[in-house]
């Protein structure tokens, strides 16, 4: 699931949408008002973000309010924990193989 989330964030407009939503829930129109892209384009991005598990929507009267979904962010954080574990393993090998203090 987290790979979908990361793929979804590969687009600068989708990153911008997530940043906007980090300040709180917004309607599609409210998001479009803050970005130089059309409302249909915002809707497309939101669908992709929703399918990636990063946002969820709630119906408020006739409007859909989109919010960040905590689990999606947690998935990204876990992903980076894995990246550091990989880097740490490689670091240890390089450091120990190049140690001037041992032969």
């Amino acid at each position: 699931m987290h790979r979908d989330a990361l793929d979804a964030l590969g687009d600068p407009n989708r990153r911008a949408i997530v940043e906007i939503l980090s300040d709180g829930g917004r309607s599609v129109q409210q998001i479009a008002d803050e970005l130089p892209i059309s409302r249909p384009a915002v809707s497309r991005h939101l669908r992709l973000l929703k399918s990636a598990g990063l946002v969820e929507d709630q119906v408020d009267g006739t409007r859909h309010i989109y919010e960040l979904r905590d689990e999606g962010i947690e998935a990204i954080r876990r992903y980076f924990a894995e990246v550091w574990e990989t880097a740490a393993t490689r670091f240890r090998l390089v450091a120990e193989n190049t140690d001037p203090g041992r032969r």
């Binding site: 924990a81 990246v83 670091f91 203090g101």
Partner: protein
């Protein structure tokens, strides 16, 4: 919790001075190439001072700035702002300590800034941008079709 710092701790069987040196002078040897801009960096360089740049040099000679050194205290401590692909305002903060222990060095890495994304819908004062340098690093990996965990 998403707002806890990400902490990675491990020990390495070398002294702190060498550990600090490998971290800052040979990152191209250990940082996964899949998480670089060029995928094949000829060098990743820490300019050895507070305020120094962290720069990836691509095979064609282009430079990609990854961040800025905030504290340079060899051999025990290093702190830097890390944005990798993005604007410096989009940097998360990484602090690493190298502590001598019996048989080597305890390395502790802390990465902060996850709280900026926070719980769904919660009002946030600050910028969220800190996280995005990291996210794009991961995105580059996705584009490259590489495994997340690697080794």
């Amino acid at each position: 919790m998403t707002d806890d710092p990400l902490v990675v701790e491990f020990e390495v069987a070398v002294g702190p001075a060498h550990a600090f040196d490998v971290w800052t002078r040979r990152p191209a040897a250990w940082w996964p190439a899949s998480h670089t801009v060029s995928k094949d960096p000829s060098a990743i360089t820490f300019e050895p001072r507070a305020g120094g740049r962290i720069v990836e040099r691509a095979p064609g000679g282009q430079e990609h700035q990854w961040g800025i050194v905030l504290d340079w205290q060899p051999p025990e401590r290093l702190r830097y702002a890390w944005h990798l692909f993005f604007d410096p305002s989009e940097a998360t903060e990484i602090e690493i300590t190298f502590t001598p222990v019996e048989g080597g060095t305890a390395v502790r890495l802390e990465q902060r800034g996850w709280d900026r994304l926070g719980a769904a819908g919660a009002p946030r004062r600050g910028q969220t941008a800190d996280v995005w340098g990291l996210v794009t690093a991961a995105y580059a990996d996705v584009c490259a079709g590489e495994s997340a965990a690697g080794a």
